[in-house]
Amino acid sequence: MILNVENVTKKFGGLVAVDHVSFQVKKQEILGIIGPNGAGKTTLFNVISGVYYPEEGKIFFNGRDITKVPSYKRARLGIARTHQIVKPLNELTVLENVMVGACFGKTGASLKQGMAIAGEVLDAVGLGHKRDVITVKLNVPEKKRLELARALASGPEVILLDEVLAGLNPTEADEMLQVILKIKESGITILMIEHLMHAIMKISDKIIVLDHGRKISEGSPQEVASDPKVIEAYLGDPDLALRLIKSKGNTL
Amino acid sequence: MKRGFIVWSVLCCFFLSFGFAKGAFAKSKIIIGFTVSQTGKLNAESKEQFNGMELWKDYVNKHGGIYVKNLHKRLPVEFRYYDDESSKDRVQQLYVRLINQDGADFLISPYSSGLTASSAIIAEQYGKVMLATGAASDGIFSKGYTHIFQIYTPASRYLTGALDLLKARDPKAKKVAIIFEQSNFAKAVASAAKNYAEKKGFKVVIFESYGKGTTDFTSFLNKIAEKKPDAIIGGGHFADGETFAKQIFEQRLKVKLVSLLVAPAVPKFAEIGNAALYVTAPSQWEPRAKFTKSTAKRLGLPWFGVSANWFIKKYSKLYGETPGYHAAGGFAAGLVLQKAIEDAGCLKSSKVIRALENMDLMTFYGRIKFDKGDYYGRQVGHEMVYLQWQKKDSKLEKEVIWPRGAESAKLIYPYYKKF
């Protein structure tokens, strides 16, 4: 088990954003996390990446308790992430953005090494030609790829992808999926939040479903897709949900 | 290469912006440098002092200038001055400029102890003689300076007279509040007054200072209302002193004696009307306290310069108001410098310093003599008087009320009589 989340609860005032959630992730697995808006998915990522500490529960990474380990140290241990709303370092160049990942993440590269690594990673995600552009000038899909590149450059063991496919057209989304599979092949464990249902169903080894902060289902894509609780959570109308899930290419 | 050229030509332009220092040339005039607070909170006092200096310059130049023996001729006096905006920020920079760029031979201090203390450092660093007028702080003369000479009676003797006066008039008065500006001068005065008061058996119930530029004295007035002192002494300079006096009046504080620094001695103080009435103040010089040739003869001192009557008449004619002590101090600074140059017979700093050291004379402004001991350059000859604003034919007038023998009127007591 590379990542072990045990009974984690995170509250904001009276609101319980994540409610006693537990799950485990095996090395080189893709774990999909789905659920309606406001289900607590991003909060869960924030807890795993250390932006928030949970009120209850524990998180283990490679068997080590990292519940109270600060964010930046988790990054150095090998947990990288992207953001739902991209957070590029706007006034730096694309290359410099990725270098920051390489230099301060698990890779811990020197500036010189960082530059080399950043170049390679950018080529891999197809942003090589933009390396000297000031980031603020990129469009949204490019920024998403940049975030991915930055996370990858840090040499992570686990990478948390928060809606990397959102806002991409079908071709771009397919390209991105290929990249994600390649990442998996290189031995990295992936947790991904995604609304693009067919994509996550296709790519995930395992899926967990959150609703109102609680984990309501867990299993293989097929198991989850046929779980009535999941369908109910999604729309309140099982039939409609089923139809939507089956119709490829629609987002929920 | 081309880029380099551009860079260097930009650089050249930049250096040109420094301007050039003036070269040496045959002496045809004596340049005296100083700064004036033409603007800012000290402008009332500084303006008066400057007027006094201007009057002296006209007087000297009308007589062909100052006689310099080793050049066998009279050299006219020329002023070089800048506005220091009543702020210490630029005083040092301006004095460096006066010395190095404007080629000042001698310096006169800015107005106020604070500004003078800053400029004195520059005068010392560059070895120029500076006559310090409008600067009473003793502290300036405990720094091991050898080029600064004081015209005013030092701060340590400013308010001691007020306490003597109070004791003489009302032996029962015991409680004193000392409230002073956070300036070199006022602090020096207040600390000396506190020691003196305690020695004389007074109880100092408030001893506090207020920031420069304070306009609201209510916190202090509340404290006074609570502690009920018999006398308020303190203040700082003109702007704050005037406001303080006004607010004491507005709150009808039942105190018996109000003695403030500087402000009441400035003729403009009358503009606050009834609030000015019965306020007393120490003064370096008053038109009503006259020093004459006969005073000099009686004390066996040489007399130098103009008579008080001449000064008052000329000044009133030129500036439309009776001179206060700041004006007299400005004129006196010029006179002292003139005498020292004439005695030295040359413009060399060391010779002029020697002349100043040996000086002991009487002028319309009073006696001038400098300390040669630990407080080198401090004024030891000059004495202060006390004044009070009184009403004469429904017009506010300054009267000299202390020391005994120099009075032009009797002290009106208590202060709250007017309410």
Partner: protein, 320 residues
């Protein structure tokens, strides 16, 4: 990252300017250049927290005051040599920055700015009440202090050379930070602190260190300046307007660049110097400064260096 060539012209330029008073035998030059060097150091050090890290330290002058007071007190009371006193002043400034930073660096944006103003004013009013530091009227050197340095005249020259050294060290520090991993950590904080932390940047420590470094140099400058001035008082040492002048110089030259702040400082000192001695413009200098600042903010937020970098891409390696 390719190392730029900024230092190749910047350091010789500073040295050339510094030698000018000797070549020209002019004290006036020395006075002006002393101020220029002082402004350069202040601007460059502020740039480390403001330009590199993105924290608007509005009350940054507080460190100049702390350094000034510390060293002045040491020299005044115990006759400590300028160099030692200066270093102690700088170190104390840095330590206070670490302590204060621990608290206020949690704040962001304008709130941080206001808090730093509050700290400056609080420390100023505290010092005003501390009698052992001379209270509101401050402290004055006895001139005997300058004897150690061969008299007052030599002491000023000594202070001048120390200032040259400090300026150059400060510039080198700024350059090496900019081109180091540490620097990239700071930039990532400036651009997006939340992103930086999950990228593995120990933002809290980075900010604190950057704050301490940017407080250290003003501490040194304060020590030298007040040694030369011969006296120190709260109104001069914690003068908020100087803080804003520092920000102005950084913005004028170019926020976050190595060469921007020194250029901004140089230009600002000259602008001020020329305007201040002109009787007509003396009082307008503030208005003109304000006008220029407004133009920069509205139309050229990158300052002079930023503008040139955008305009002439070839100059980029020269203008970092």
């Amino acid at each position: 990252m390719k190392r730029g060539y900024t230092l190749i012209w910047l350091i010789p330029l500073i040295l050339a300017i510094s030698l000018l008073p000797v070549i020209a035998h002019s004290v006036i030059y020395r006075e002006t250049i002393f101020l220029i060097l002082m402004y350069i150091t202040l601007a460059v050090s502020l740039n480390i927290i403001l330009g590199y890290t993105g924290y608007v330290s509005f009350g940054h002058i507080v460190f100049y005051g702390i350094g000034g007071y510390t060293s002045f007190y040491l020299m005044y009371r115990f006759g400590v040599h300028l160099i030692l006193a200066m270093i102690m002043g700088g170190i104390l400034s840095a330590i206070i920055a670490l302590i204060v930073g621990e608290a206020v660096l949690r704040l962001r944006g304008a709130i941080f700015a206001i808090a730093t103003i509050g700290i400056n004013e609080a420390i100023k009013s505290l010092v005003t009440n501390l009698q052992f530091l001379g209270g509101a009227t401050g402290m004055f050197f006895n001139f005997k202090i300058y004897k150690t340095y061969g008299g007052a005249a030599k002491a000023i020259w000594f202070a001048y050379w120390i200032m040259v050294v400090v300026t150059i060290i400060c510039l080198l520090t700024s350059y090496f930070i900019k081109n180091s991993k540490f620097g990239y950590g700071l930039f990532s904080i400036r651009e997006d602190e939340d992103a930086a932390v999950v990228l593995g940047v120990n933002t809290k420590r980075f900010k604190s260190i950057a704050f301490a470094i940017s407080a250290f140099f003003p501490g040194l400058v304060g020590a030298i300046f007040f040694f030369k001035a011969g006296n120190i008082e709260p109104d001069d040492a914690f003068h908020l307007v100087k803080s804003i002048e520092m920000i102005f110089m950084v913005m004028l030259g170019g926020f976050g660049t190595v060469s921007g702040p020194p250029i901004g400082a140089l230009l600002y000192e000259r602008l001020k110097g020329i305007l201040l001695i002109n009787p007509l413009f003396k009082n307008l200098h503030m208005a003109i400064t304000g006008f220029i600042l407004l133009i920069i903010i509205l139309f050229a937020p990158g300052g002079i260096v930023g503008w040139f970098r955008n305009r002439f891409k070839k100059l980029r390696s020269l203008l970092e």
